[in-house]
């Protein structure tokens, strides 16, 4: 080794020794959360978790699929998702703990006077075959289809559960499921779908019964399951987040929000 190289080596080694060690966040869970779940529970839950356990959660809100991908790639330790894990994901070591379920409701702006739609009408509305609300007994208003983007769990779950072989069309797309709800409240003739706990926060949005079944009915078939997902068996602080999510207080809060706890 030449003298300049030696000097550089000594300098770099000295600098490396002098640099502080990487700062590790202790007692803080780095979590990625589906926007629907974040919207349904709100910020209050995080504050209460910190107050109850003395531990913290750093939350990043994305779609369910992105949240799971972040977990797979080690960007977070916990994901909250409205999508079911595939067998491949389970084989790769991801563990899903379903916490609660929430009905997926068809929504429209308040001006629509119809309160029940048949499943065929729902499919024809979202596939663009029905273009005016008067075709289903409503006012003379053009149907504006608003959907969240294809990557969201709301879209995937709705297409899988309600659309059958019908092709989904849209006039506008929202980046997040909760944004689609906001858009419906402002656009006349707008129709969309969303998880009920998010919709219930809006007073100017109409929800429909489908085939005579109200979303509050136990037989209502269009449901989303909200799960907490971890890489491997939950332990330590992540286990505390899970136990908090299953505590009596949070389960009561879920019922208050219209969600159905799955472990009760």
């Amino acid at each position: 080794m030449t003298t300049p190289k030696k000097a550089l080596f000594v300098l770099l080694t000295a600098l490396a020794c002098a640099l502080p060690p990487a700062v590790l966040a202790q007692g803080v869970v780095n979590a990625s959360c589906s926007s629907q779940i974040a919207e349904a529970f709100g910020r209050v839950v995080l504050d209460d978790f910190k107050k109850t356990t003395g531990l913290g959660v750093t939350l990043h809100v994305f779609s369910s699929q992105i949240s799971v991908n972040r977990l797979k790639n080690g960007f977070c330790e916990l994901a909250a998702s409205a999508l079911k894990l595939s067998p491949e994901d389970k084989k790769s070591g991801l563990v899903a703990i379903p916490i609660c379920k929430d009905p997926m409701v068809v929504i429209a702006c308040k001006e629509i006077t119809v309160s029940n739609l048949s499943l065929t009408e729902v499919r024809r509305l979202f596939s663009g075959h029905i273009t005016n609300w008067k075709e289903v007994g409503g006012p003379d208003l053009p149907v504006r289809i608003i959907t969240p983007i294809q990557e969201t769990a709301a879209y995937v779950n709705f297409v899988r559960q309600a659309m059958g072989a019908s092709q989904m069309k849209f006039d506008y797309q929202a980046a997040k499921a909760s944004t689609a709800v906001e858009a419906v409240s402002h656009i006349p003739g707008a129709i969309s779908f969303a998880t009920r706990s998010v919709v219930s926060k809006y007073s100017n949005i109409k929800t429909f019964s489908v085939d005579g079944m109200k979303p509050t009915s136990k037989k209502y078939p269009y449901m989303q399951t909200f799960s907490l997902i971890t890489r491997g068996q939950p332990s330590g602080v992540i286990r505390e987040v899970l136990n908090y999510s299953l505590s009596e207080k949070v389960r009561e809060n879920m019922k208050h929000l219209g969600l159905t706890p799955l472990v009760d």
């Binding site: 003395g54 299953l246 009760d264």
Partner: protein, 197 residues
Amino acid sequence: MQLKKIISLICLAGLLFAMGCASGLTMVAPRVEEITEGEKGMGDRINVVYMLEEEKGIYTLTRQPYCKETVEKIQVSRKRPRGFIIALCELPLYGLGAVDYLVAKIYANASEEEMGRLIGNSGKIIPCGEVEPAAHEEILLQFPDSERIKRLLTDNKATLQLEELLKEKGQDLQINVFVKKENNILYIKTIDKTFHF
């Protein structure tokens, strides 16, 4: 040639002038307040962690209390060592840069004065009791894909008969096990059946 000599002399004079700079700078530096961590201890009991262990097809439930780990936070006022880069420049030429910085470090450490102590949470959860068998506990088995919940009780020996349940043909690749305690539900483990297929 003359110019080179002058530049070299200026550099040399600069370095000579810089000798002892790190310790000098440290001595004139203002005091700063910082918080250092002291001894670790055991805080409030946060939870009981249940464990389910399998041996020859028999599942045994055990429990162990867990507490918040506390840490003593000491507020100190001190001078911080300065002039590290200068000391580093002195190093290849004289070797005295190391002594200069060492003196600066010793002076900075000696200037430390304790202002007060507080007990805080370290953010970790640590076991704070013995592992004991958990007899007569209510167990919930969650079959996530079929959305079934099965309720069981552990016997006197804290064992659970899960063999028959796990042999049942179903679509569930993972079965979550919980314990229900005073209306709270605590996670125990996930029985993974993915590698059985």
